[in-house]
């Protein structure tokens, strides 16, 4: 990188640096979220920031926003104002001119465009005098135009298309008079947009850099977009800056290689042949459609762990939720052990032999204020029922057996679930799911937010379950984990199966390549 290039030139690499991050590290206990990251973002340029899950992108954004502080030692400089990285605050960040549009836009869908912009800016006068809507409207219209939004300011934001809503969020972040906002950080602005709409949004982003001179940090999982839009690209892996690419170096193969840790380009994956298997598959799905899913077909054999590699919005969670009766399917057939099943709700899915461990453990997995024991027996009390009462002793015996079998570390079955560690909560959720002796275990991000040893135990639990003849489908955005746990991996991209890796082929590098590869390239 060319540091200290202060003279404005034609090449973006030689323009003046607006945002300089030097030696920023961040530790949570012993684990490092960021290691000595330094990078420079220049005026009038788009700087791509890419990395897998847990690579440190969001940690870096949080520090820039002043939501969390880095370890001492590093520093952050915005247009000549410098702050120690361990002392940054949200007030400093805003005053220095850093602006953020997060993936969750934080906009108010049931309010009008004018209200959405006015709320962030503050109404022009204090007190109880009526708001002068006419003034606000006349101020808002040019702001919206500047960002390519043509809708009337009295329209409800929720009526707008997804890219327009993102543009309104950007407009809100940058609405103040020109130069107070200098750096715009966009976190996954296109994650939920179809390609054509994403292009429109990115064209506007590009124009903001070229015409208005903003420095833009673009965080994205979509490498083709980054390749087309960014002037420079920094690749993070395991909290460290691997490399910053510029100009002609920005190609998809180069980025995939850096993301996955292999040097240079990775070889093209060859589809794994799932031919000639004698057994009846535990699960066969054929032509599933619904939501993002389009024509998804695959088999899972007894004793097999099938991994699903896909990015956010690829339909990976939707697939599991559809199989568990939580999201409707518009077409397709499902066979369990060779028998056709119809899934029209959770009870039907359970009857068909499915068990599900949700991604959102706190929101959907646990009864936090209830004892561990009640969590373990949650839907199976009928089993202990014998007139006139639920047999407490039989239930307690089963709870004790499950605690010991699934190695749940708790004082006793009476301990409130919410006071267990994340890993032990997850083991309890899995224990509950497996206790029903499911044929197909559906796991969404099974080791998210758990420590390393619990992760190993969770993998062991999955393996033991399938060794007994069941099948498992694992969705994980941690490709290292997928390659460790899966016998076979399907890549899901925008709702379609775009590749398959069999035993011996699975490596995190390959998975990155499959999952990040754009569909366009796939068709070639």
């Amino acid at each position: 990188m060319n540091d200290n290039a202060t003279t404005a030139g034609d090449s973006p690499r030689e323009r003046e640096a607006v945002l300089t991050i030097s030696g920023v590290s961040k530790h949570h206990g012993p684990t490092a979220a960021l290691r000595d990251v330094s990078l420079t973002v220049r005026r009038g340029s788009v700087h791509g920031l890419i990395g897998g899950n847990g690579a440190g992108k969001s940690s870096l954004v949080k520090i820039l926003a002043g939501v969390s502080q880095a370890d001492s030692g590093g520093s952050i400089e915005v247009d000549g104002r410098r702050v120690d990285a361990d002392r940054i605050s949200s007030g400093w960040s805003a005053a220095a001119g850093l602006r953020f549009v997060h993936q969750d836009l934080g906009v108010f869908d049931d309010m009008t465009l004018a209200e959405n912009l006015a709320i962030a800016r503050g109404y022009d006068h204090p007190g109880v005098r009526p708001i002068r809507w006419r003034d606000i409207r006349s101020r808002v219209v040019p702001v919206l135009e500047r960002f390519g939004v043509t809708a009337h300011p009295d329209r409800s934001l929720g009526d707008l298309s997804a890219p327009d809503r993102t543009l309104v969020a950007i407009a809100r972040a940058l609405q103040e008079e020109e130069q107070s906002g200098k750096v715009l950080v966009l976190d996954e602005p296109t994650a939920c947009l179809p390609a054509a709409e994403a292009d429109r949004l990115l064209a506007t982003v590009r124009r903001l850099a070229d015409d208005d001179g903003y420095a833009i940090v673009l965080i994205s999982h979509r490498l083709d977009e980054v390749a087309r839009t960014a002037d420079t690209v920094s690749v993070l892996r395991d909290g460290a800056l691997v490399r910053t690419l510029g100009g002609g170096e920005i190609t998809e193969p180069a980025m995939v290689g850096l993301l996955a840790g292999a040097s240079g380009e990775a070889s093209s994956p060859e589809p794994y042949s799932a031919a000639d298997r004698a057994d009846t598959p535990v699960l066969r799905v054929d032509g599933l459609c619904g939501g993002q899913l389009s024509d998804v077909s695959f088999d899972v054999m007894p004793g097999e762990v099938l991994g699903i590699a896909g990015l956010l919005g690829s339909g990976r969670s939707r697939l599991l939720r559809s199989l568990y009766g939580l999201a409707p399917l518009t077409a397709g057939e499902i066979h369990v052990d060779g028998r056709p099943v119809r899934i029209d709700g959770v009870p039907a899915a359970i009857r068909a032999g499915f068990a599900y461990v949700p991604e959102d453990r706190a929101g959907e997995g646990v009864f936090a204020d209830m004892p561990l024991g009640d969590n373990l027996t949650a839907n199976r009390l009928n089993r202990y029922w014998a007139w006139p009462a639920v047999k407490g002793r039989a239930e307690a015996r089963d709870v004790a057996r499950m605690i010991s079998r699934y190695v749940i570390r708790a004082r006793s079955g009476a301990q409130p679930m919410g006071t267990l560690s994340g890993g032990n909560q997850q083991k309890a959720v899995m224990a509950h799911a497996l206790e029903g002796a499911p044929r197909v275990l559906l796991l969404d991000e099974p080791s998210q937010g758990v420590d390393v040893s619990a992760r190993a135990e969770i993998h062991r639990i999955v393996r033991t379950a399938v060794d007994a003849g069941a099948a498992a489908i694992v969705v994980s955005s941690d490709f290292e984990e997928l390659s460790a746990i899966s016998d076979r991996v399907l890549a899901l991209n925008k709702g379609r199966v775009t590749g398959e890796l069999g035993p011996g082929d699975i490596a995190a590098a390959r998975l990155h390549q499959l999952a990040f590869r754009s569909v366009k390239e796939e068709k070639v």
């Binding site: 959770v346 359970i350 009640d374 010991s404 004082r411 409130p416």
Partner: protein, 345 residues
């Protein structure tokens, strides 16, 4: 998969200990206090008013004790009613109005239409069942929030009662077999109290010892998780509103028995609020953090004996509401503090 083999090496097996075994003694003491303080406080108040010179002659008198027991029967049944929806995370604001409507139905059927006691009672309880069914449909089928649905139904019902009675109480002609039940004792205990104890036992049994009762708690703890483990959430919530309506209907019958009239001014919103606050106060005791039958009954008597003693000591009528409100706020504040500490443990 059948043996007791653990999935991890020897020595790393989780310790399984009997409940409370690992709990330090200091925490056990505070747990005991948390569970039984409301009960101890109630006992202390009774002792105090028995010894206090101002009330020592009147408070412990059999007549006063029996009055309190009899008077609180209706409130206890309504409190039992609101427990079901509360446990699964819903409010039923229509219970008071339902009890009033049921009361008018019983009084009118038996006194004005001479339909006979058994049929009148069935009609009264039937009103409650019907209200429960309407609430169930509104909440689980139409999808209205329970608070709004029951607020609307309760208000509507109060209006219909006024329309039907023209605001006048039905005083004469109520069969003596009904009023006798409200006034007489069995073995020195008011018959109505024995009846209420019966209902309390039934609800306690249903909530504690049957699978369905415990599923209700799961629904209240995390509705999404309950759905994911395959519980039929809508059916459980609907069932809770049905039971709540039915018990409110029973409370209407008891109102007629106790008061000997059908009075549109009795019951209503104030009864709803008293029942809800007893349920919340009760959730701070016996099984802290959970709505529970014993706690709720203790809460009712804690308030009743306190207010009875205070009024015998010469306090004015407003004392009842002031005491009730203060007790609720203090108890729930203390209990919230304990709950936070428990979850940090």
């Amino acid at each position: 998969m059948t043996t007791e083999v653990t999935l991890v090496d020897e020595g790393r097996t989780a310790d399984v200990q009997p409940p409370d075994a690992g709990v330090p003694s200091r925490r056990r003491v505070s747990l005991f206090l948390e569970r039984y303080s409301l009960l101890l406080l109630t006992a202390a108040i009774i002792v105090f008013f028995c010894l206090d010179p101002a009330t020592s002659s009147t408070f412990p008198a059999a007549r006063n004790i029996k009055n309190v027991l009899g008077d609180e029967s209706v409130l206890i049944v309504v409190t039992l009613a609101v427990l079901f929806p509360l446990i699964c995370g819903e409010f039923d604001f229509s219970v008071g109005a339902t009890a009033t409507a049921s009361q008018i139905a019983v009084a009118s059927a038996s006194a004005e239409h001479s339909l006979g006691v058994p049929l009148s009672v069935v009609i009264g309880v039937g009103v409650g069942v019907a209200v429960g069914a309407v609430n169930t449909i509104l909440v689980t089928r139409v999808g209205i929030s329970g608070i709004i649905a029951t607020l609307g139904v309760g208000t509507l019902l109060a209006g219909l009662v006024m329309l039907y009675t023209d605001g006048r109480a039905i005083v004469g002609g109520i069969p003596t077999s009904i009023t006798d039940f409200g006034a007489n004792d069995v073995l020195g205990v008011p018959a109505i109290t024995i009846c209420t104890v019966g209902f309390g036992m039934l609800v306690l049994y249903a909530l504690t010892f049957t699978p369905s009762g415990r599923y209700l708690y799961a629904v209240g703890s995390n509705r999404k998780a309950a759905r994911l483990v395959g519980l039929k959430v809508e059916r459980l919530i609907g069932g809770s509103f049905m039971l709540s309506g039915t018990l409110a209907g029973v409370a209407g019958v008891l109102l007629v028995a106790r008061n000997g009239v059908g009075d549109p001014q009795i019951g209503g919103t104030s009864l709803t609020l008293e029942a809800l606050s007893a349920a919340f106060l009760g959730a701070t005791a016996i099984r802290p953090g959970r709505f529970n039958v014993v706690g709720a009954v203790v809460a009712v008597f804690f308030i009743a004996f306190s207010v009875s003693g205070l009024s015998l000591a010469g306090a004015k009528g407003w004392v009842s509401d002031v005491f009730n409100g203060t007790a609720l706020i203090v108890a729930v504040a203390v209990s919230t503090y304990f709950a936070r500490r428990r979850m940090q443990a």
